[in-house]
Symmetry: D2
Subunit: 356 residues, 4 copies
């Protein structure tokens, strides 16, 4: 079916389900000759992996990517780069009880409504396991950006009601805490809160913020593929995302033009803005300032509480709580947000080459 | 350049600038034989038109669409439907003073940075006049939806700090006020506020909410073209949009799963949800409930105040306020939001036909 | 409907019918700042125009292109370049007699079968008038190639049984005869033959050959967008084309490998082939030699003889000969073949920029 | 890089090289619920396999497809169908002698020129092994066509100078000979000829003809995706193809309109043509008659004779003959031609569903 390709030139076509043979993709647009730094790619995958601390699910998926084509002697050859991450933890019959159930706020019912058939094992294609392919493609996008100096950093800026109001200048502490919040005090509070939510057998949502530094002016293709519109689609396509905003976002809606406009000035011959309420994008094209956006995640639908729902035949049933559960997936979403952002930036960059 | 096509099957390729010959597009995917109700299309265009009341700009653009191909005897023939809306009000030398200026928070600088050349007259391609083509395509999308019963209604839910918290059941009053807010008391307050902003020579942002009723379950194409992701891209591609959320959106980020999940039940053999926090979309596919989303608009960058900025050569200058100005474009954005939504729904609908 | 866009980066979306408002298109991928040499574009259009001599139809269409967007001060701005050529000679009621007839070997019946509705006036979208948009886009592609030195030259190599066996080195005489054959003696014979066919009230087919000189090695994108595969699609999409071959084409099928292989050698440090049976493309990628291909055109279906056919209701009827008629369109196809080739080359060139 | 996706709705993105991990693809557009008849898919793969007789290469690749996603309980689920055929016979160092050589009329030089890097092992991506992915996708396309009655049959109509002039009504004998020619006497002659060519250590070209029966009127999308134009691209993208023609093809170029036109008549209320010189396609849309086309293959470039060529550094060298060799690949191309045709027909069919 449609919908499994992202990008125009740097283009990922993804496949895979939670409990089939694996997940993976075919990536086009990788620069021929690019060194595929496998340690870096694995490191990015590890960042997404659950089981890293008490606040995440204890599964240890040990995801390892295998490249199936497009590589020779560790370098991209310019032909399509296919890769797979094989599923290991495939106890399909764990899911037999869910076969005919529509779990609340999951995609069980909608997949059935759309396709008339559904892989119920672990959510099938709707499982967040699908995002592994994005992380691999994003890691390669980051490798392509290496020589450009563009830096893409995402972090958790909100968990439940706990939120950071500003993007700090110093983002170095992000990876030092399992919650991936650069404000270490806030990080402690978030961790405690998530632990409490786990004990409540509940889940909680949050926000991932992302900063892109050193991106040149000129990225983005109006009118339908404005930089922020494509970033928006990219982020909204991630599991559990409910909203996207860039710059001041929804806050801008209550502001006046005189408060929101960014004055231009010049510094060392370069056009800059004194403020960056626009979030680094004006008219859908990057302006050389920091690109800033925020992504809202709902609380994951899987909770360890009984819930009322219906089965495939329409019978109302009580779904018993069981199994594993990740009370807050937002920290694990950080590398996925970065991966999608990296793909968008590389694709816009490559498109710009065709104008020269 | 890239970026001027939207949709996969119901597909608009758009063209045009504020001060060229006109704006328009080529539309593919229109059902052969469809009656092109010209009165309806004109009515949609009129809704977008400025000059309708004291709260909008006094220009009277009298936009009329001319179909250039794909129509015979008032019916679509199945060949590409090209159309144009000719520019009338083209005093290009009005803009000579802006030729070398980069207006704050406009796209002047970024277009120059990207293309190395820029049509400075009235913003060129970055003018909101471009959205006329979207309204025409959206009107035709609505005509295609007519027989399906799907109803798409957008309205202003926030202007500055004035906001409606809930989507009312009764939306019938929307078009009765120039501010397009269904709560008539709130509408009065908004109008007064916009008038005040006009007197301040300032501008103000706002939010457009949209409700899609009677859409079937099954629309949307995971994983990258999830219904809400494509709606998000569509909305974010509209001029001045800074954010998009569906269902509870950013609010969901501070909630628990037990508060956010929508329980399923059955009614007359149909699977329904007791609440609709998901906003009608689960796993990227419509679930048959109302589809709800919100779009954040920044205050327009044009204000009647002097502003500091730079010119093309990097000199810092004061930009003198002059000309016409629309203090709040959000009411005029309502038909544009509906148009983009209609295009997304029709395209998803047509894609589904290929699965049967 | 689908099918009206050609190209990936240098991308034409075309519209228009024989008897609607006009034909035209939207072109993306034009280099910002490119001088749009209007004299050159008009000259290319004139080459396609009928009425240039006794061997073509006497209509004088005086096609003039009007640019609707994407141009300022004669230069491309990088935004979509929309253009139209307005229809002038629109005596629609000339065609009333054809309204319900299915003309033999025209597209009347198939358009009806596909769309359930048909613009019968002059063939509607299936009219060769559609190719005007291709010539405009091709002219702009040629302007983009100017600085590269790539030279694309097509010519008539066969009319009926009269054929040239070899591609001559000297192609300078092509435009000096109305039949566009570089061998002036053969040209005379072709002209006489076409005149004879005209007197017989019949039509005749032919072949257009094309030589692309100075193209670099490296153009073309295996495996599905091999250079010759895309050239093939491009040529086969032109009205009345029945076949495409490159290099030795169908002749290669009866040869042995030892006869067909092109030996490599080096000259001044450049890898070259001693023979060019491959036609300048190996493995779907240009090798730096001359790119050679041939395009087979059937005799046009319109002849001034009575023919048996059926009408829309299935009644068998005799279609009376009447109207104007072009006994051999192959000479007029020469600029169209060049235009499509230029578009393919530019698009492959731009794609290559993304690998660097 | 670009160029690895074929189709719009029924869409194959392919990957893989001769000596990497394997070849495969991701297929979208497969009807959810379709039974994936594995025996049939394997049978199609076996038809492509070398080593079936004395006239083909003795390798026994035993290609088996493994589905990686999109299947549950033997049925397509509507999510992307990824598959791989693992490479077994990977003696990479067999190819060390070719590492720096540019084999005449292979893609070695052009891949190097394009990508600056090349997988020299067995031709890498330019190996005909890539076509395995097409055969799998084509087999699934055939399964989708099963209920429609459309029948796609290709066969060898020419080997070297030995050619069949007409398409016989009875095609039942095709698979009974290793050369896949329905005329059993001609088949014997072809086999003897190919054996002679093998002894000469040479190779020989040929032609594959294809007949599509029971296709409905209405398939194909003018103007750029005319049915025959897409078939042409599909066929030309197959390794070693040099030409494509449909209907009378190049022969039509020497005919008169009065000889070439197909008269319409009605039979049992159905519009038909008395002759089928058009090859079942008029104006780029199928007309309900048999679709007929021919595909020209050059002799394969690998021969067991010494050849002059150059190496990467530009030195002229003699390439010593060695290794395995298939004197005539045309019989093995038969299932590939059918596969590509099936993909084109299914894709056109699915596109038509969106017009209804």
């Amino acid at each position: 079916m449609a919908g499994n390709t992202f990008g125009r030139i740097f283009k990922l076509t993804s496949f895979g389900e939670s409990h089939g043979r694996g997940v993976g993709g075919i990536l086009e647009g990788v620069k021929p000759g690019l060194e595929l730094d496998m340690d870096f790619i694995q490191q990015e995958l590890d960042r997404r992996r659950p089981g890293q601390s008490k606040i995440t699910t204890p599964r240890d998926e040990k995801d390892r990517v295998e490249f199936l084509s497009g590589v020779m002697d560790g370098k991209a050859t310019g032909t399509p780069l296919a890769f797979a991450i094989w599923n290991k933890d495939q106890k399909s019959n764990d899911y037999d009880n869910l076969k005919d159930l529509y779990r609340p706020s999951h995609a069980d019912y909608t997949y059935d409504a759309k396709y008339g058939i559904r892989d119920h094992r672990g959510g099938g294609r709707s499982s967040a396991r699908e995002t592994i392919a994005r992380v691999v493609a994003g890691a390669i996008a980051k490798l392509m950006l290496k020589e450009t100096g563009v830096d893409i950093t995402a972090f958790v800026s909100q968990v439940g009601e706990l939120r950071m109001e500003e993007v700090p200048e110093d983002l170095s502490a992000i990876e030092s805490t399992p919650v991936r919040c650069p404000d270490t005090k806030m990080a402690e509070r978030m961790i405690d809160y998530i632990d409490k939510i786990r004990q409540e057998k509940d889940s909680v949502g949050g926000v991932v913020s992302c900063v892109i530094r050193n991106a040149p002016a000129g990225l983005g293709d109006p009118v339908f593929e404005k930089l922020h519109a494509v970033l928006g689609q990219a982020m909204l396509s991630i599991n559990a995302v409910k909203g996207f905003e860039y710059g001041l976002g929804f806050k801008a809606s209550s502001m006046k033009g005189s408060q929101h406009n960014d004055e231009f000035y010049t510094e060392a011959g370069k056009v800059k803005t004194r403020t960056n309420r626009s979030g680094g994008v004006q008219g859908g094209i990057s302006n050389g300032e920091e690109i800033l956006f925020r992504v809202a995640f709902k609380p994951v639908a899987t909770i360890l509480k009984d819930q009322n729902t219906v089965d495939k035949s329409g019978n109302e049933v009580v779904m018993k709580a069981r199994g594993r559960h990740d009370p807050c997936v937002v920290p694990r979403a950080v590398p996925i947000v970065e991966a999608m952002a990296a793909m968008v930036i590389v694709d816009a960059w490559l498109m710009n080459k065709t104008y020269q």
